[in-house]
């Protein structure tokens, strides 16, 4: 029972990380109708900047602020220089261009920091464990990630539902031509949205840095899962991103943990040994296929 609770927390934490990445990506796709493969690169930039600033300044909080600002800046610059003209273009062109950006960023990071993974750590006041209930010890850092993720979710909901910016975002997602016709500076809006998406990806990256390997190409490992999340959740909606992320996080975690023992009850141990991990790795794709078969627009599509 304790194990199940612990695994649920793990699934929640993974889901929250996916949500931070998915939120930015789904906004960019929903509002600017752009497929951005380079989102993983921004995640990587966030992780690297945070690690770098933490080493240079010794203050984790300062490093976080600088990393977020830095990723935001990188995102905005990239948008203005390379991506602006792509909004009008085909998805295909966007895929090709953003893939080119992935190669560029990975190599740039490799030039600046080398190909080897770099050392990144949790600050002392964030390490250690929490005793949530008797017998359930959970790493403090991961717990903080869950809190931050949920906090961001609430914050995003507030911005989208209750502020003018959010209203513009929703309007733009519905009908961008109309919004432009109403005199809103669409270009600026897009840049702001992209920048926010970049900052969210950077946040995910800097949170992930201490627990995963910080190396060139780290974004691509997560990118596919993020795409699965936004497809399941529904493109263009933050709610969908949250739902999708939590579902994927849970299914993946619980699948890895419990699928093999469950299979072992019906199959022979050796069959479960090979089938278990194989199916567990395909589980989120199976889930996506099932969701798309019944609700092709995803679970909570942005209303059009």
């Amino acid at each position: 029972m304790i194990l199940f609770a612990e695994q649920t927390l793990n699934g929640l934490q993974l889901g929250v990380m996916l949500f931070l990445m998915a939120a930015g990506l789904t906004l960019v796709f929903g509002i600017m109708n752009m497929v951005n493969l380079a989102h993983g690169a921004l995640y990587m930039v966030g992780a690297y900047l945070a690690t770098f600033f933490f080493q240079e300044t010794g203050s984790y909080l300062l490093a976080v602020v600088l990393a977020l600002a830095g990723t935001l800046a990188v995102g905005v610059v990239t948008e203005v220089v390379a991506l602006r003209t792509l909004y009008e273009r085909d998805h295909l062109d966007q895929v090709l261009a953003t893939f080119g950006l992935i190669l560029f960023f990975n190599e740039l990071i490799a030039i600046l920091w080398g190909r080897a993974a770099i050392y990144s750590s949790v600050p002392a006041w964030l390490s250690g464990h929490l005793e949530l209930v008797a017998g359930l010890r959970y790493p403090l850092y991961r717990f903080v990630i869950i809190l931050i993720g949920l906090g961001v979710a609430v914050g995003l909901w507030y911005v989208v539902a209750r502020t003018r910016l959010g209203m513009l975002i929703r309007a733009g997602a519905s009908n961008r031509t109309m919004v432009a016709a109403l005199g809103v500076n669409i270009r600026l809006l897009y840049t702001v949205v992209f920048g926010c998406g970049a900052a969210l990806a950077g946040l995910a990256g800097l949170l992930a840095g201490p627990i995963y390997a910080v190396q060139p190409g780290m974004g691509e490992l997560v990118l596919i899962q993020v795409f699965v999340v936004i497809v399941i959740g529904g493109i263009g909606s933050i709610r969908g991103a949250l739902a999708g992320a939590l579902i994927v996080g849970m299914v993946d975690t619980l699948g890895r943990a419990f699928l093999k023992p469950m299979l072992a009850t019906v199959l022979s141990p050796t069959a479960a040994d090979s089938a278990g991990p194989a199916i567990a790795s395909m589980l989120i794709y199976l889930l996506m296929a099932v969701v798309l078969a019944f609700r092709p627009e995803g679970l909570f599509p942005a209303s059009r």
């Binding site: 090709l96 560029f104 596919i224 092709p296």
Partner: protein, 317 residues
């Protein structure tokens, strides 16, 4: 004949001259390099049918390379070396898999289609990776090249080269006929304006599914050729990054053009080879060639809107 067709025939002609040229200059390596490029060009051309003409952005096309390759490899592993049987199974098997995947995927569109095709290819990849019997991700050696009983020896580099060239030309011709037939026109119409297509009474679904299956089958053939070329089989060919590479070859060359995929493949693979290996380039290029490739890709998209074939101009097919 318009400019583009003339150029295409010229390029194919040049490719035909490669074996004697390579022999004359004692550079047999280029024979292999261009053969590999042509095999990928066949795969990219098949993708162009659904991606370029059909507007169906399939991120899972490399799966059929894998199915074709495995069909040949597995049969060879069990002692069946007849090229006819192997290649028939490669094409037929890929068609069946495409039918299965397509039946589910073609109903969706846009980003959903991209993702679901990606999902299926990942599943096949993980499946191949865990299949211990056929080497799992270590892959396995091709026991013997496909045998065609005296008709042609695939072990002979030049014969194999000309076979691939012939199949490439055949594929391009087939696609040309297909695209300009009523069937092809419906596909293109559906990509252009689906609502209108429906309005005139045509349901795009069966046409799209058929195109998907045909594309898969041709790609299966490319897979059979590929495994004979490398003499080695590994599930890594089904990885989503490979699908991405195929897409880039198509997009780079110019979608919805007959010659586009060939140019795109030539450009991408030759560029990779040159950036990495050309001794005339300074170390800071060859060591970080991916940086420069990335920049080139972005520039091509931004400034060469219709891809490389688009640069040549001519009738918009």
């Amino acid at each position: 004949m318009n400019r583009r067709t003339v150029l295409l025939i010229a390029v194919l002609g040049l490719l035909a001259l490669v074996p004697p040229l390579a022999a004359a200059f004692n550079q047999p390596f280029y024979l292999d390099l261009l053969r590999r490029i042509m095999i990928f060009a066949i795969a990219a051309s098949s993708l162009n049918l659904i991606l370029g003409y059909g507007g169906m952005v399939s991120f899972g096309h490399a799966a059929y390379l894998g199915v074709g390759a495995y069909a040949v490899g597995v049969l060879a592993h069990h002692g069946i070396h007849s090229g006819w049987l192997q290649w028939a199974l490669a094409i037929g098997g890929s068609a069946l898999v495409a039918l299965a995947i397509g039946a589910v995927s073609v109903r969706t569109s846009g980003i959903y289609f991209i993702m679901i095709t990606l999902a299926f290819t990942q599943m096949l990849y993980y499946f191949g990776v865990s299949f211990q019997e056929y080497g799992a991700d270590d892959g396995m050696r091709l026991a013997k090249r496909s045998q065609f009983a005296g008709l042609i020896d695939l072990g002979d580099a030049t014969s194999f080269y000309y076979l691939v060239l012939a199949l490439l030309a055949l594929t391009l011709y087939l696609l040309h006929r297909l695209v300009n037939s009523r069937f092809g026109l419906v596909i293109q119409a559906a990509r252009s304006n689906e609502a209108r297509t429906r309005a005139i009474g045509l349901s795009p679904y069966p046409y799209r599914l058929a195109a998907f299956v045909i594309a898969g089958a041709i790609c299966g053939l490319a897979g059979a050729l590929w495994v004979n070329h490398t003499a080695y089989l590994s599930p890594e060919i089904m990885n989503w990054t490979r699908s991405g590479e195929l897409m880039f070859m198509v997009i780079l060359g110019g979608i919805a053009t007959l010659s586009g995929p060939l140019y795109g493949t030539l450009a991408l693979l030759l560029l990779e080879d040159v950036l990495q290996g050309w001794s005339a380039l300074p170390k800071w290029v060859t060591e970080h060639w991916q940086l420069y490739l990335g920049v080139i890709l972005v520039l091509v998209v931004l400034y060469a809107r219709r891809g490389l074939a688009g640069l040549v101009g001519g009738r918009h097919e």
